[in-house]
Symmetry: C2
Subunit: 384 residues, 2 copies
């Protein structure tokens, strides 16, 4: 039967790979990125090099801890949110330091030997009592958090000094493995703001001995020298190969993306000139238009609020998203790609030609939002 | 130690409920909503009442099939995307009709007896060959899909008539259990567009016998009488208690929300006048401001691109989100709610006072995007 409509048919061996989008996770890229950060931190410096926390919260920024782990383990430590996350890292085999960045702690909880070597961010007074009562068998390294101008958590200047004095005593009594200074920037990607925030923190901690952990991806990538003078850096987004700096891609910074999002073409539809496509007829064809129906939509976490003209890659060439992204489908213009048909895999982000930074800009968001917001409907698979 | 900063401490019995946001799923509300739709469809009509497909794709619009099922099973049939989804519904115990809306079919696949009673949307020519070769033991009911102006999938007018003739033959030969007409609206929430699309479909199918399935939530809620004249309606968003119509909430339509999203306060921070909060210092306090740190962020699927002033509910009162939503945290102004402290559960959407429709409007999106895009980091629990 002649038709201008056709859709993929299923065969036993291609079913699973064509029913949904898939995120391919490249742990080799993660390893490369950590090596790249280490290189930047040592460049032109003395023999002091900061250690690197690979931030792996939000299930390794959506890459999943399991698949990212073989790359993450080239860092000096893993940084997660909760003590449950710490146990998850231990279950994967990690025996090195783990930083719990927003832990709910109790004396009983801290007596779990599997947690150690454990680093804790201490950002409120109630935590101090728990630390005072510990015995040396379960001595965490603690990082006192200055709330800085982010103000999400942490001590103000007055309370910071009091807490520091309290923890110094605990350290001397052997109830802590170490004591350091920590803060998180509110505007690390804006040079002038970064400088001000850094100065405020240095002014606070001057004269209080302790290691320093203050630099994140954006800070260390924009000022290697300042980061190299600290003791630990925390890097999340850059570890996954993504640039935190405006107007630059990970590639520009010597990083490699660790996630490629792909989705299958499940149908082809041909529109005549003047015909509409998608909800609320957002797209109208000005010529005969060959449309690829791609199995990825907002229910997979793909951004619905995308600007016109966002691109995808298929068979190494670019195609444009047309019409509104719907729950399970996005539609692309294949008029100039007649050889692309059903079952073709379309790359939605994660290559040098189509970095996630570009898609994020088109969606008026940040790359971290895109990769962490993929839903359970997107299988994550190890890059073959 | 005196401080203006404090955060929740963990006790054994409250840990699990305070480590993350949670979506509470109310299957009784789903049952109510289906009954409400049935009531609307029978109002003022003869004794013909259309049957209702409860659309359960995207894991029951993010509610999860498991938790929604006790409510969904009061519908006449379940509508999902793929044959794998059909099997999932069978595993939950559903023995009634299931509509596969975007199936990849093959002869071998269709011989699985567990799929039946099976309804299939047929929207492309390649599917026809598979149907022609079936034997009566595995006879699906097929719904021929007109592509209409949505144009995502389906036959144009010429091909529709050809496919209909082909399927009529298969029906007469006993290889199909039934044959019906189906379309999906592009603009069902705009009355004039709806009327045009409905007329175009009726003009096409006039003179071709068969049952009709053309109305979705928006269409049936805005024109009960037209929907009541069809044989099956497909309702997704309304089944979950959410309005598809501009400027109305589910409550306005007699529906009850089936998902409440809640998240715990994990810390309190007090800002002085002039102090900033959050990334890029989006919020600046104009007075002393008591800030609640709430454990829900964009990595949970909460919208990052939220307008200023979006509200939440806590202890039955409203509070306002201030500052930018970050990966794991959103921040609310508790200055006027001094009794709200750590461990308080904050409602983010899903009540009469704070419908998801309101949050969607503030995030410049639609409610279906919000509920389907919650990530695996948000446990779904049955409403107690």
């Amino acid at each position: 039967m002649a038709t201008d409509t056709h859709t993929c048919t299923n065969t036993a061996d291609n079913y699973s790979c064509h029913a949904s989008p898939v995120a391919l996770i490249d742990h080799v890229a993660i390893k490369h990125n950590i090596a790249r950060l280490r290189q930047l931190l040592t460049y032109g410096q003395s023999n002091h090099t900061p250690r690197i926390w690979a931030v792996a919260k939000a299930d390794a920024y959506g890459h999943t801890l399991e698949l990212a782990y073989p790359g993450l383990c080239s860092a000096d430590g893993l940084a997660v949110l909760t003590l449950d996350d710490v146990r998850h890292c231990r279950a994967l085999g990690w025996t090195g330091p783990i930083l719990a960045m927003s832990p709910q702690i109790s004396r009983a909880e801290l007596k779990d030997p599997v947690l150690y070597p454990l680093h804790l961010i201490i950002d409120h007074a109630e935590q101090l009592a728990h630390l005072a009562a510990l015995n040396p068998r379960f001595a965490p390294h603690v990082w006192l958090r200055f709330r800085a101008s982010l103000n999400h958590a942490g001590f103000n200047q007055t309370d910071y000094r009091k807490a520091y004095a309290f923890l110094q005593t605990a350290l001397r009594e052997g109830r802590l493995a170490g004591l350091g200074h920590l803060q998180h920037y509110a505007s690390a990607e804006i040079a002038e703001q970064l400088r001000k925030e850094r100065q405020a923190f240095q002014a606070l901690i001057g004269g209080m001995p302790g290691s320093v952990c203050s630099e994140n991806s954006a800070a260390l990538l924009s000022d290697h020298a300042a980061a190299a003078a600290t003791d630990w850096v925390r890097s999340g987004i850059a570890v996954y190969g993504i640039s935190p700096l405006h107007g630059m891609s990970g590639h520009d910074l010597g990083l490699r993306p660790a996630m490629v999002l792909q989705a299958p073409v499940y149908g082809i539809q041909v529109l005549g000139a003047g015909e509409f496509l998608g909800y609320n007829s957002r797209f109208q064809a000005t010529r005969q238009t060959r449309v690829g129906l791609v199995r990825c939509g907002y229910a997979h976490g793909y951004p619905r609020g995308l600007a016109e003209g966002c691109e995808v890659m298929v068979y190494g060439r670019k195609a444009t998203i047309i019409g509104r992204v719907s729950m399970d489908t996005l539609t692309i213009d294949l008029s100039d790609l007649p050889d692309v048909s059903c079952n073709a895999m379309v790359t939605l982000w994660g290559t040098h030609e189509l970095p996630i930074e570009t898609v994020a800009r088109q969606a008026d968001t940040i790359p971290a939002q895109l990769c962490t917001a993929l839903t359970a409907r997107v299988p994550r698979l190890a890059m073959p």
